[in-house]
Structure formats: structure tokens, C-alpha cells
Amino acid sequence: MNDKVDSDIDSFEMPDPRLSRGEDIDDEERLIVDIEGFEGPLDVLLALSRTQKVDLKQISILELVKQYLEFVTEARALRLELAADYLVMAAWLAYLKSKLLLPEEENDDELSAEEMAARLTYQLERLGAIRERAAILMSRNQMGRDMFARGAPEAVIIKQHHTYDLSMYELLKAYAQHKTREAVADIRIRKKAVFTLDQAIERLSGMLGLALDWTSLEQFLPDDLIDPQLIKSAKASMFSATLELAKVGKADLVQKQAFGPMFIRARAQDNKKTEDDN
């Protein structure tokens, strides 16, 4: 593989162009990598492992774990928003590190530290390999960029095309759009059960004339209500209505204790104001 392709791959892989140029970034700064440039923990690990400048097969997992944990610490110190999977990976790596450092325990159920490390290496190698291929693929001569088909094709009888041209993408797009529309059309906001203030004032005004003595607010509530939501609403509105009527001087209110029942009576025209609000 020539240098050109190598550098293609590097520039393709490295979110921070300085990383691809090597270590002219000091250690501390190298860790302050733009987290936005990475696509998840595996991406970070691969970039970090590249800095070890060895074949991925020979990377030091312990060193890699150290670098990654430093990276995460640094990112958190800078209050960079780290997605949960970065932290999950950090925890997993910390666990791996401790397993690698501790003497091997015989445990058939669990992977050995070496196996865990090897799996991680495999994943990194596999991702690295596919990235190389992706870079090579994109650097190939491409139709419409490097080479061209006939610009003015002529219809020849050989083309047994359909009369209509439709791609899978267009078909799926049409169905998706239909579904999207359907979802929008399906939005039904349930009408809220509300006993309006106007209704309450009207009701209360009408009923107050019948109740010349102190009457509990409860008794003014409409008794034909079943929906609990509506009952709640009616209570609230009736309460507001009593305040409203008291304000305009049509009713007196009394409440003996906090949260206690509230009594109302119609105010005689000449009564002095004895409003007792809570």
C-alpha cells in the first residue's frame, strides 16, 4: 500500500488532523480531543490505539485503557457532554484493567482477562480494517467523478426497461410518507372535561338566591357529574366563582379553619362587608 493511500486512510480516520500528523501535540493536549469528532467509544479507542504506532495486534491494552480513562476524565473535567456509552466503556475498561493486573482466577463462567482483551483488539482491528477498505473504495476511480458513461445515451431496442421508472427508495419513501401522514392525521387531542368559570358563576348566582343562610360550597356543586375529572374541574371553578362573587359584593364567604369547609351566603344589599377570605 502506498503512502498516498496511507495518508488517505489516516485523514479519513482521524477526527483531529493533528493526530494523523503524529505527536507534535503534547500529551496533555492530545487528550483534549473534540468529542464531537468521534463516533462513540470504539472510535476513540481506535484513534488512541493508533497513537501507539504499532500494529494493532501488538497494542498494549493496559496502555490503551489508561489513555482512554484519561481521555474520559479529561472530557468530564472540561464538562464535555459524554454520552452514556463512553462511561459504560470506561467502566468496562477499568474492570478489564483490574482483571489484567490481578492474578488469574479459575472461573469457567467468565471470560479471562486475556480473552476480553483479545476481543477488544479484534473489534478494533476489524473496525480499522473496514475503514481502510472504505478509504480505498472511495479513492477508487468513480463513475461520474473520474470516469463517465455515455453522456447522451440513445434508446436502443435492447433496453427492455419498464415503461415506468421507479426505485426501491422511491417506493419505500412513498410508503413512509403515507405512514407519516397517517400518524399526523391520527393525532386526537381529547377534549378536556372542563366545568368553566362562566358556568360556575352562572350556577352560583342562580343558586345563591335560594340559600340565604350559610351554605357549604359542596352543596352548590352540580350533582349530575360522574367524570372525576369534571368533578375536580367543577370544584375549582365553583371556588373561583365564589371568590368572584364575593369580590363584586354579591356573596359573603367564611372558612373557619385552613382546609376546612367553606360557607357562602348571599349578601344582603345593606350588609356591611364581612368578607373573610382565606
Binding site: V156, H162, D165, L171, Y175, H178
Partner: protein
């Protein structure tokens, strides 16, 4: 750049261009002082006995099929036509909901389906009648054809992506995730199998097309 190279460039440019090119336009792609006219004449000579000729039309140059091979060209320039939006959507609904009656398509789409829409899809040989529903009036049901599967490179209509897969692939971007439950795939209808087209009652049971 030698003469041969200049000839190759002209050849490639003329081949890839979607319209005839003037010698001036070609000259712009060549080193200064190139004799474009001479190159074009040489190119014309190179192709004179080929299946394709270089011809000068209205002062511009283009490749075209040799006139004695015109029989290879389609008589009328039958251009591939685009399906209307309604037709694409109807096709998609038939594909996902088949076997489906016209009334059901209308119900699903929320708008009427013109006879022309179904005709177009049948003319394209992507849709065909597949049976009759065992409901009053015995309405005709529609399904997709072999040609449909070939067109979209599918082994079966079951290979069409489901809603979750469409969503995952980014097709349902604008749909609020919370509303995805509304977007569940249609439940298979608990229904008697459709009658086959030939109305043969006895064999209809085995002929379920799902």
C-alpha cells in the same frame, strides 16, 4: 501532450457530453495551440467504419449510432415515464397490504383511487388482480406481480422492510418516536381467504395468498 493524447481527450469529452460540443469548447480542454480541427477530422476518420460515427451537426460535434444501424434504435423515443405520486403510494399500499380491494386502498389512503391509477400500475405489470373477497359484492383484490419483485430485487413481498426497519433506516424521520406505536404494522386480518379469480369454491381454501 502528444497528438494521440489530445485525440483521446476529445474522444472522451465527446463521449461523456450530453450535448454536441463545439471545437472551441473542446479546445479549452486542450493545451494552447492544439489543432482541434485536425484532431476532430482524425477522430472522425477513426470512427468512420465503426458502429458509431462522429458527426458534425450545426457546427458542433457528437457521436451517434451509424445510420445503417438505425434499426437498432427504438423507433419512437420511448422515454421512461415517472409514476404519479398517487400511483407510487397506491403501489406501496398494495405491496404492503395485499391482497387488498380498491375500497380498502381508498380507506387506507384516505382519498379515492382513480381507475386510471390502478390501470397504470397494471399496465406496468407491477399489480394484478389476485382474487375476490368473500364479502358482499365480491370485490376484486389486488396484489403485486413477479415483475414487481424483479423490479425491486426482492425474493418475496415479505422482504419489504417493516415499519420499525423503515424507521431505523431513516425513512420515518419526521415521526415523533412517541407516536411510533400508532405506526405498528397492520395486523393480519382474521378473515376468510380470498376467492381465487376463477371462483372455484372447492379449491379456494388452499389458495391463500398472504
Amino acid at each position: 501532450m502528444d497528438n494521440q493524447e489530445q485525440l483521446r481527450i476529445c474522444e472522451a469529452l465527446l463521449f461523456a457530453s450530453d450535448r454536441p460540443l463545439s471545437s472551441i469548447a473542446l479546445a479549452e480542454q486542450l493545451p494552447e495551440g492544439s489543432d482541434v480541427e485536425a484532431i476532430l477530422l482524425e477522430l472522425q476518420k477513426k470512427y468512420q467504419d465503426s458502429g458509431v460515427n462522429l458527426v458534425e451537426v450545426a457546427g458542433k460535434w457528437m457521436f451517434q449510432t451509424a445510420s445503417d444501424l438505425a434499426f437498432l434504435l427504438r423507433k419512437e423515443q420511448e422515454k421512461e415515464r415517472k409514476l404519479s405520486r398517487a400511483a407510487v403510494e397506491t403501489l406501496a399500499i398494495i405491496a404492503y397490504h395485499q391482497p387488498v380491494t380498491r375500497a380498502e386502498i381508498e380507506d387506507i389512503r384516505g382519498v379515492g383511487v382513480s381507475k386510471g391509477t390502478l390501470d397504470v400500475l397494471m399496465e406496468a405489470v407491477w399489480v394484478r388482480p389476485v382474487g375476490r373477497r368473500r364479502t358482499p359484492g365480491r370485490p376484486m383484490t389486488y396484489g403485486t406481480t413477479e415483475d414487481f419483485l424483479v423490479q425491486f430485487g426482492l425474493n418475496s413481498v415479505k422482504d419489504l422492510p417493516g415499519l420499525a426497519e423503515l424507521k431505523a433506516a431513516g425513512f420515518l424521520d419526521n415521526v415523533n418516536t412517541a407516536r411510533l406505536n400508532l405506526l405498528s404494522d397492520e395486523e393480519p386480518k382474521e378473515e376468510q381467504p380470498d376467492l381465487p379469480m376463477d371462483d372455484d369454491e372447492s379449491s379456494s381454501e388452499e389458495q391463500v395468498i398472504s
